[in-house]
């Protein structure tokens, strides 16, 4: 067990090192949320009410793109390249490998949280988060859930050429419906109903409570439960359905 944890830690360290060596991936992960923040900040600079919705929304978008989208694409790539097959031929415990890879995505998400919180404080008049614990709880549960769903979703993607299309056909509608750019409660009823089922909506609700309104964690247990349910679903499919080889071979 201790051994499996040590191997997972080494895998995570390797993933970190490789992440920084691939400038395109690093650039996208950090510049995209900043770009969104500054664009919306410029558009709504006099509208604090809208900024209060958008800043936690952008944080939700950033977390989803560095966990769900990045993992779905990376796992598909590594599977097609045969890296996963090679790893499967070594004594590497599968759980250690998956934990190391997921921890890498979690690290990126942690950076995003820091960037958005700082930007909210410095440029968008949101101030420091009202409830740090609540922010941490939603960040941890949200990131773990979206990471598990990303790995699980990679099983659906037939090959790497199709990966961006498959990932975006989920990512783009979800970020719009989940209220990244507007308050979900002001949307038409059918969209609100869909949004209430999706995990990202509840992650953003939690971020919003922690960063802006200061609503207590106890008022958002329902949100947490929905996210955790998706997380359990994602984790089961990520592990049970995990395939180390591409279907082509």
């Amino acid at each position: 067990m201790a051994d499996a944890v040590v191997i997972a830690y080494r895998q995570w360290r390797l993933e970190r090192r490789m992440f920084w060596r691939n400038p395109t991936a690093a650039f996208f992960s950090f510049v995209l949320p900043l770009l969104f923040l500054f664009l919306f900040g410029a558009i709504f600079s006099n509208d604090q009410e809208t900024l209060d919705v958008i800043v936690p929304g952008i944080l939700g978008l950033s977390v989803m793109s560095t966990t769900f989208s990045a993992l779905a694409m990376n796992i598909t790539f590594l599977r097609e390249e045969g890296v996963l097959k090679r790893i499967h031929g070594t004594p590497m415990p599968p759980v250690s490998y998956l934990a190391g890879v997921a921890a890498n995505a979690v690290s990126n998400a942690a950076f995003q949280v820091v960037i958005v919180v700082l930007a909210g404080r410095l440029f968008f008049g949101i101030g420091w988060p009202k409830d740090w614990l609540e922010l941490a709880v939603f960040a941890v549960v949200g990131v773990a859930t979206l990471a598990a769903l990303g790995v699980a979703f990679s099983h659906v993607i037939p090959n790497f050429d199709a990966a961006p299309a498959y990932t975006n056909i989920v990512f783009l509608p979800v970020i719009f419906i989940s209220g990244v750019f507007y308050d979900v409660d002001t949307a038409p009823q059918f969209l609100t109903d869909i949004a209430r089922v999706l995990p990202l909506t509840h992650v953003i609700d939690g971020f919003s409570a922690a960063m802006v309104s200061g609503a207590a964690l106890s008022d958002h247990v329902g949100d947490l439960a929905v996210v955790a349910a998706w997380g359990a679903f994602g984790a089961i499919f990520a592990v049970r359905g995990f395939s180390w080889e591409s279907r082509r071979s």
Binding site: I7, L14, M18, K85, R86, G89, T90
Partner: protein, 292 residues
Amino acid sequence: MSASAPAILVRDLHKAYGDHEAVRGIDFEVATGEVFGLLGPNGAGKTTTVEILEGYRSRSGGIVSVLGHDPGQRARALRERVGIVLQSTGMYRHITPREALAHFARIYPRPRDVEEVIRISGLVEKADAYVRTLSGGQRRRLDLALALVGDPELIFLDEPTTGFDPAARRNAWEVIRSLQELGKTILLTTHYLDEAQALCDRVAIVKDGRILAEGAPGELGAASTRYRVAWRGPEGEMQSRELEDPTALLHQLTSAALARGESLQDLSVTRPSLEDVYLELTAEEPEEALRG
């Protein structure tokens, strides 16, 4: 497990993919310390057989034992004792061979020294270059290095020198021979006959999911009852014939040459080589060859 137990034992192995039977009843054993080659054309079932032994595929029937384990159970204890060079695998792009070897070495209980593995696999100059900048042959050397870094007792090599230039091939052969001297057991697949001849203690010729012949590379040809006679004819062209008893033909050739007052050039009488046996056994049916 007794000392005489084979490193690999395969009995009546079958593997079907849907309606297609890729392996149709294969039997062989590989003794500890032996280099055993599976030789055959593409699609013969070599890789399927090896991937069952490596634990990548399930079997449809038969018995398989690798170092006393059923590879289908995927025990970590077995994978710690086995090194694998797959026919094609990828590696992370933004990592150097030295880093990759150090990373994978730590998964094994008793790894080899990383610097030593870099040296014997011929990666000294590229040890600190990113994998994405390596040539195909250099990546193949890294594949071999990664298979050796755990200091395995048993090594699977699936077409290990495909894409190598002649010098790199010789070097890989030296590495494989040095592994043999260390007492490692090696299961090799190849479609290069000279490779099988140079490296293997025993080979099995595989076609259509069955073993057609098995034995030491030198004996496979010698077991044949036929001789091959080759000579240079009066017009200067090479001729050859295969027959059970060459006495009459040789008499005919020598007397004809004497009658012409010439010497007989480039005369040879040989047993069929491994190559001849291989080509004969793996030849396509005539009508198939025409269609193909």
